[in-house]
């Protein structure tokens, strides 16, 4: 795994994102993008469906990302990327074709087209940055919005569980599936690098937990802390699944033991989206955590 110093040096060299884009203060998607593109050494073609990423580029001070970018319609990124990947194959190019999509574009409107690309095992690295709602359009709920979260279309808190896309991709037997967390950049970096090199030629899926200060109603200074708590409460297990064989990643490994997890309340209390949450829902959310781990353990 890269050291923090190496990571910083690589990022300074690659300069995946220039200063002056329109991302909100504390935005973790922006950092994730920087880490991911650094891991790819900038050798990527990025396809972005409608999402936060498509509106933060360039604004104000000009072009902000040093890779070719295609901003597509909502349900279109995986097919557009498929077309690009097939042409690159004909041309004998090794450049990584990345779909960089939000959770709404992945879990909801784009799910069919992503599943199609996975089934065809297209040479695409699909990154779903998960800010758990349609944050760009004003925080409407998405399929990935967790139970309990208030959004502008679930004003009393969402009642149902989130759609677990990473596990659904495992069910589709995608050769490399991983979860990442913007608060753990080295882990994220390593996963992108591994997906791009070791599994090149196949469909790969990485889901990045990406806190959103305005949408989640958290203080901008807390967005890294929220990510850490998501990990330390067991709320967001980090893992890699290679051909269906799962291994928990180092930051999350010890939380396989429920006794070691921090109380979920620590995670909930610093986020406005969970304010005044029904204790019954909190209980269900606690059960959701162990439920998630218990399913994941079966794939170890």
């Amino acid at each position: 795994m890269v050291s923090t110093k190496e990571l910083v040096n690589i990022e300074l060299e690659v300069k995946a994102i220039e200063k002056g884009n329109l991302a909100c203060p504390g935005c973790q998607l922006n950092l994730s993008f920087k880490h991911a593109l650094s891991a790819l050494k900038g050798d990527a073609i990025v396809v972005v469906p409608a999402c936060c990423t498509s509106v933060i580029q360039g604004a104000g001070q000009g072009y902000g990302m040093h890779v070719p970018i295609f901003n597509t319609a909502f349900a279109s990124a995986p097919p557009v990327a498929s077309g690009i990947a097939r042409k690159l194959k004909r041309d004998g190019k090794k450049t990584t074709v990345v779909v960089w999509a939000g959770d709404g574009g992945t879990a909801d409107i784009g799910f069919g087209s992503m599943s199609g690309a996975a089934e065809r095992d297209e040479n695409i690295l699909y990154v779903m940055y998960d800010n758990q709602g349609y944050q760009n359009t004003g925080n409407q709920k998405s399929g990935a919005t967790p139970r309990g979260a208030k959004t502008s279309t679930t004003p009393h808190g969402k009642k149902s569980r989130r759609k677990d896309i990473a596990r659904m991709m495992m069910a589709q037997e995608v050769s490399y599936v991983a979860t990442a967390n913007a608060s753990y950049p080295q882990d994220l970096f390593a996963k992108i690098e591994r997906a791009a090199t070791e599994f090149a030629g196949h469909f790969r899926f990485i889901q990045i937990y990406s806190p959103c200060p305005p949408g989640w109603n958290i203080d901008t200074k807390d967005s890294v802390l929220v990510g850490e708590l998501a990990n330390n409460t067991g709320y967001w297990p980090l893992y890699e699944a290679v051909n269906g064989k799962l291994e928990f990643s180092r930051p999350s490994r010890r939380f396989n033991d429920p006794a070691k997890r921090k109380p979920l309340a620590d995670y909930l209390k610093i986020q406005g989206r969970f304010r005044n949450i029904d204790p019954e829902i909190v209980k269900q959310m606690e059960e959701d955590i162990e439920h998630e781990w218990s399913i994941l353990r079966k794939f170890m």
């Binding site: 319609a73 409107i109 349609y134 409407q140 279309t153 679930t154 004003p155």
Partner: protein, 376 residues
């Protein structure tokens, strides 16, 4: 429900409230700027009113869900913007063919493609009319003020129920996000139309009875023979995929709109009595045009406006009559020329276009300059 009174509200929210008053109890939609405030309001208001709100996984599903709810007897609505309408088009054709009454709000934004989500346009005028395949007709209302967001939403539901067709409310970004006064009349003074349903125990009921233009609609699960389909069908709903079956069905579907066109079409004449130049305008753009006409009148220019409160079906007779009274017609719209084409088709005088690429309305000064130029 909103009680009688004057409210200071956003156009989008007014559409949601008017829909509830009109009887809407099912709403399915997908987030899209600038129409999301309708869904956001419906998410808790329908809950309070005993209706169902579903945030769907995309616009295809949204449109399909309101067809389902409508067939089960609920007055249903969805709200979207241009890109969403594009995804709904196949199902809009299905609603037309099944004769499911549904209301679709299109809060127009700059296109094509992602375009300008946060800025205005009137670029969907042709899309809603011609986008689905085959021949079909829709009814499209086009509010120009927040008050009309209320009035025309009620009418949209009434028209959908009365004629069993998909009905559009063509708002735009400016109108949807504009906050203004809106007067809500006494509820008992608001005319509400409900679809005609067959008599209980009527064994002779046929879902597509062709002895009437708009057959009564049985509610799924309440008895009767319910068979709704997107295939060309006969009176019973059975497939009749042959030229005769198609001709019989299509001619009734067309006649139900065109034999009622005078009942559906709504136009406003503004200072047209002695006008030599008539401006055809609709939606937010008409506000700018109205101001320009007032200024032109002060300069002694004989100009007036025919404002379309319904865009579709097209008011063929009225445009033709207008073209015989004036020397010239100018169509002002926030697109590169859409409604100007049918106006040209039915007008006998010269027709010119005042177009705009989108993102803003024509300022009144620009309309006035063009009026002066055309009247030289």
């Amino acid at each position: 429900m909103l009680e009688e009174g004057t409210y200071f509200m956003k156009g989008n929210h007014v559409i949601a409230e008017a829909a509830i008053i009109a009887g809407c109890r099912f709403f399915g939609a997908y987030p899209i700027t600038p129409a999301s405030p309708i869904a956001e309001r419906m998410s808790y208001r329908l809950f309070e009113e005993g209706g169902e709100f579903i945030q769907m996984e995309d616009e295809i599903a949204s449109m399909a869900a309101i067809i389902g709810a409508s067939c089960a007897g609920a007055k249903s609505m969805t709200a979207t913007s241009g890109p969403g309408v594009s995804l709904m088009l196949e199902n809009i054709g299905l609603a037309y063919m099944m004769e499911a009454p549904v209301v679709i709000v299109d809060v127009m934004r700059g296109g094509p493609s992602t375009g300008m989500p946060t800025l205005t346009s009137q670029g969907d005028i042709n899309q809603v009319r011609w986008g689905s395949h085959g021949d079909y007709d829709v009814i499209a209302y086009c509010p120009s003020t927040v008050q009309e967001c209320f009035d025309l939403t009620i009418k949209a539901f009434n028209a959908a129920e009365k004629y069993r067709v998909p009905v559009f409310i063509m708002a735009d970004q400016i109108l949807g996000l504009m906050t203004s006064n809106v007067k809500v009349p006494r509820l008992r003074d608001i005319k509400i139309v409900d679809r005609e349903t067959p008599m209980d125990g009527d064994d002779t009921y046929q879902p597509y009875d062709s002895s009437t233009l708009v057959p009564p609609m049985a509610i799924a699960g309440h008895g009767h023979h319910v068979l709704m389909t997107g295939l060309t069908h006969d009176e019973r709903g059975y497939p009749a995929t042959n030229p005769e079956g198609q001709e019989k069905l299509m001619s009734r579907l067309k006649r139900k709109i065109y034999e009622n066109i005078d009942d559906i079409v709504e136009l406003e004449e503004f200072m047209l009595e002695d006008a030599e130049l008539a401006i055809v305008a609709y939606g937010s753009e008409a506000r700018s045009v109205r101001e320009a006409i007032k200024q032109a009148r002060e300069k002694g220019l004989k100009v007036g406006m025919l404002r379309f409160k319904t865009i579709w079906p097209f008011p063929e007779r009225q445009v033709n009559e207008l073209s015989r009274r004036v020397k010239k017609i100018m169509v002002a719209e926030v697109n590169l020329g859409q409604l100007v084409h049918p106006v040209r088709e039915y007008a006998v005088c010269e027709v010119v276009a005042l177009t705009h690429s989108g993102g803003a309305l024509h300022p009144p000064a620009e309309v006035l300059r063009r009026i002066e130029e055309e009247m030289k």
